[in-house]
């Protein structure tokens, strides 16, 4: 469902992402972890079509995002780490705007929008301007907008930032539900607990390179540790990489 081929991004002389190769299959929840500045957000932004790669390609559902960006993006629900929105629109208007961009018909929109707003406890705030929303509410609104068109792939950067415990639980349940229905989820996170809890497979990126991928068990073998502790695995793998 998601294929990254030699994905590379340079910022001047800095190599943010270096020849990343990865395949994530349908219905899989893939966690992307790494230290600060490792290249997680850059990778996700290239996958969302927000940033163009210096080299390599992103293929979503068999479509190369560089060659057919509109077609590929129709299949993606992209959620950035910081919820910047159009502050002068109401929540409902923003959903309507998103629905129009993704070609959702009027009849379906009204049904779906009521449904997602209720799911994310935003129904009482639907007619308020986004500028009056809290950080967490904006994050919920972006999540609502991202799932409105039932994407085949959800690319999400730091899904839990700004969410309250109820929101976190809701997102975890939602991810499991949609993945069961065949949606692929690619998320970056600093929360190792979240990665351990929800993800089928985890990738560790360090200094722009993918240094390990696999299930928790596979990563445990790679790091040569006994206990199933992702934090320990993460520390060992990233520390090894930093040793010259």
């Amino acid at each position: 469902m998601i294929e990254l081929k030699n994905l590379t991004k340079h910022f001047g002389s800095v190599v943010a992402v270096n020849r990343l190769n990865l395949f994530v299959s349908k219905g899989e929840i893939f966690g992307f972890i790494g230290p600060n500045g490792a290249g997680k957000t850059t990778t996700l932004r290239m996958m969302g079509g927000v940033l163009s790669p210096t080299e390599g390609s992103v293929i979503i559902d068999g479509i190369n995002i560089a060659e057919e960006p509109e077609e590929a993006k129709k299949r993606i629900g992209f959620i950035p780490d910081r919820p910047f929105l159009y502050e002068k629109l109401t929540g409902m208007e923003f959903l309507r705007f998103t629905a129009d961009l993704y070609g959702i018909e009027d009849g379906l929109f009204y049904k779906k929008s009521e449904e997602v707003l209720k799911k994310f406890s935003l129904d009482d705030w639907a007619e308020e301007l986004i500028e009056s929303y809290s950080h967490g509410m904006k994050q919920r609104l972006i999540l609502s907008a991202a799932i409105l068109h039932e994407p085949k792939v959800i690319v999400i950067d730091e899904p839990m930032v700004g969410l309250d415990p109820a929101g976190i639980r809701l997102v975890k349940t939602l991810f499991r539900e949609v993945a069961k229905k065949g949606t692929t989820i690619f998320m970056s996170t600093h929360s190792l607990g979240m990665a351990e809890d929800v993800c089928n497979r985890i990738g560790i990126i360090h200094k722009g390179s993918l240094i390990a991928t696999g299930t928790i068990e596979e990563l445990k073998c790679l790091a040569q540790v006994q206990e199933r502790d992702l934090e320990k695995i993460f520390m060992i793998l990233t520390e090894e990489e930093t040793i010259p």
Binding site: H10, K73, L85
Partner: protein
């Protein structure tokens, strides 16, 4: 005092570090451009005051009265400007700045924090007024052959003058913040300021100052002069400043020092007063400004008007962008308050044409009317460029940090840019054609001149709008707190230069053919073959130029966005290798 200086340090360091950002080349060009304009304006102000004062000096008996009347009016104007800009600056510094939560969490007393912020806002609101008041004082000093004492008095008195204005502004803002959220106060004051400015312009224009150059109207000038009484209360800071300057010009040192002491004592008292009042009400107002703004008009979901979403003849994505654009535009009070300004300026523009004293000119009336009409095409295009620089050029930047929504949506950048184009094209085409048709009617031009100007504007408007959108996409500023000000950037400067070049090229290309057509019409003759070739060639070139201006900037803007040069907040990385 030490803490206040520490609080001011980030501002100083940010200013110092500007050269590190790597955009110094663009900044130098802007600095040079605006610096030249600034110096020219400064020189022009000095020259005008110097000439006026010299002229007044030459009038026996009431020349001095006129000169001092001018001084007192100028001081009142400067004081009003200082108060207005002080209100906006202190509102921003004390209630709306992004770093407020950071500085308020620091172990510094609120009083010191307030004083540091107020000091910053005083500098921000006063420096320009201070610089542009200097030619006024200098011209009085030169014309009245004043000594060092006068210049010293001017220097000593301008400081308390600025401090008093700034403290009155901050008092007003603190009071208002108790009742209104800070965001709304800015809108209200900007609106009131614009209204005041418009009233001033309209009333000044309706006085028709040009009639004063006509000696026959001189008796009414005396009447006008008698009525032009500026307020001169002994309780006004402008009066103290005025008296200090007037007495120092006449050499009365004691009196000048007395009035300066009044200014300084009041300014110092005001600093204590605002510090004391801030302790009581500043933090209350600030807490209120952190609360979520409430909408003026809100509808329950079922009753909400949805008329804009019924643009069903458009495809989903186009409709989405158009509706979003219109809603955001009209919900931003700073946008529509500027529309009032434009409407008023247009009314004045048209009024000017209606009162042109063409019959008094020595040039043949029909000839003059049509020359003016032809030149008016350039003027209308210039007005359009200025309006576009304010509204169209920032259109892409207005997406702000929410631009990720556009980039991640399944809509091409081309569609996005062209939707923006059409949102601005129709209203601005209407505006330009309205200006050109009404002015042509007022000028009683020939039908051929009417056709030429209407068609020329019809072809120029898309080019000017396209350059605005395209250049805005090439030079976006997604991180600006106020993207509408992006026209003062290097991109805005290039846009205006391109517009000027475009307008000049069209006018130059059309001048010869239009003259030939017009003169042939007057002489009731027919055009020669050479003239026909010239006309067809020139108009074809104008057409090609307009098509180029329409297509090329949009393509370049699209290319620039697609190249990935437009990075948003990529964590830890500021620039792109593709640059």
């Amino acid at each position: 005092m030490k803490e206040i200086l520490i609080l001011l340090r980030p501002r100083f360091l940010s200013f110092k570090n500007r050269r590190i950002t790597g955009k110094s080349k663009g900044r130098k060009v802007i600095f040079l451009f605006f610096g030249t304009i600034g110096i020219a304006f400064w020189g022009g102000t000095f020259f005008i005051f110097y000439r006026i004062l010299n002229y007044f000096k030459g009038i026996e008996s009431f020349g001095d009265i006129l000169a001092f009347k001018l001084l007192s009016t100028s001081l009142i104007t400067l004081f009003s400007l200082l108060i207005f800009s002080g209100i906006l600056a202190s509102l921003t510094k004390l209630y709306l700045a992004k770093d407020l939560s950071l500085v308020h969490s620091m172990p510094v007393s609120r009083e010191k924090l307030f004083l540091a912020r107020w000091f910053e806002s005083t500098i921000d609101s006063s420096w320009m007024v201070f610089i542009y008041s200097l030619p006024l004082f200098l011209s009085y000093g030169i014309v009245y052959k004043a000594g060092v004492f006068y210049y010293a008095m001017a220097g000593i008195n301008i400081l308390p003058f600025c401090l008093i204005a700034s403290s009155l502004s901050v008092l007003t803002v603190m009071m208002a913040a108790l009742f209104l959220p800070a965001g709304r106060i800015r809108s209200v004051f900007v609106f009131l300021g614009l209204l005041l400015f418009l009233l001033l312009i309209i009333s000044f224009r309706l006085i028709r100052p040009e009639k004063f150059v006509n000696p026959e109207a001189f008796s009414s000038l005396l009447l006008y002069f008698k009525n032009l009484e500026s307020p001169k209360s002994p309780l006004l800071p402008t009066t103290w400043f005025f008296d200090a300057l007037q007495t120092s010009l006449s050499g009365s040192m004691k009196s000048a020092l007395f009035h300066s002491s009044l200014s300084w004592s009041f300014a110092i008292t005001m600093i204590f007063v605002i510090a004391w009042i801030s302790g009581a009400i500043y933090f209350k107002g600030l807490s209120k400004s952190q609360a979520a703004p409430v909408r003026f008009f809100s509808f329950p979901r079922s009753k909400r008007p949805r008329y804009l979403w019924h643009l069903n003849f458009l495809s989903g994505s186009k409709r989405a962008f158009i509706v979003k654009e219109i809603k955001i535009f009209f919900r931003d009070q700073t946008q529509w308050s500027q529309i009032f300004l434009i409407v008023a300026l247009i009314a004045i523009y048209l009024y000017n044409f209606s009162v042109l004293p063409l019959e008094r000119s020595s040039i043949k009336l029909e000839y003059l009317q049509n020359i003016l009409s032809f030149l008016n095409m350039g003027l209308v295009a210039f007005v359009l460029s200025a309006v576009s620089a304010r509204f169209v050029f920032p259109a892409v930047s207005l997406e702000g940090e929410a631009f990720w929504i556009v980039r991640s949506s399944p809509v091409s950048i081309r569609t996005f840019l062209w939707t923006k184009f059409f949102v601005y094209f129709f209203p601005l085409l209407f505006l330009s054609e309205l200006l050109i048709v009404v002015t042509n009617i007022l000028l009683h031009v020939t039908p051929i001149m009417m056709v030429v100007s209407v068609l020329t504007i019809l072809f120029m408007v898309p080019g000017i709008i396209s350059m605005g959108i395209g250049m805005g996409a090439i030079y976006p500023d997604f991180k600006s707190e106020n993207p509408t000000q992006s026209f003062t950037s290097l991109g805005g400067l290039i846009y205006m230069t391109l517009c000027m070049g475009f307008i000049a090229a069209v006018i130059v290309l059309e001048a010869g053919p239009v003259y030939n057509i017009f003169m042939t019409g007057i002489r009731r003759g027919s055009l020669t073959l050479f003239q026909w070739i010239w006309i067809v060639g020139s108009f074809s070139m104008v057409f090609a130029l307009c098509i180029g201006a329409l297509v090329i900037p949009m393509r370049l803007g699209e290319k620039k966005i697609l190249q990935g040069d437009l990075e948003l907040h990529v964590s830890g990385h500021g620039t792109d290798s593709n640059k």
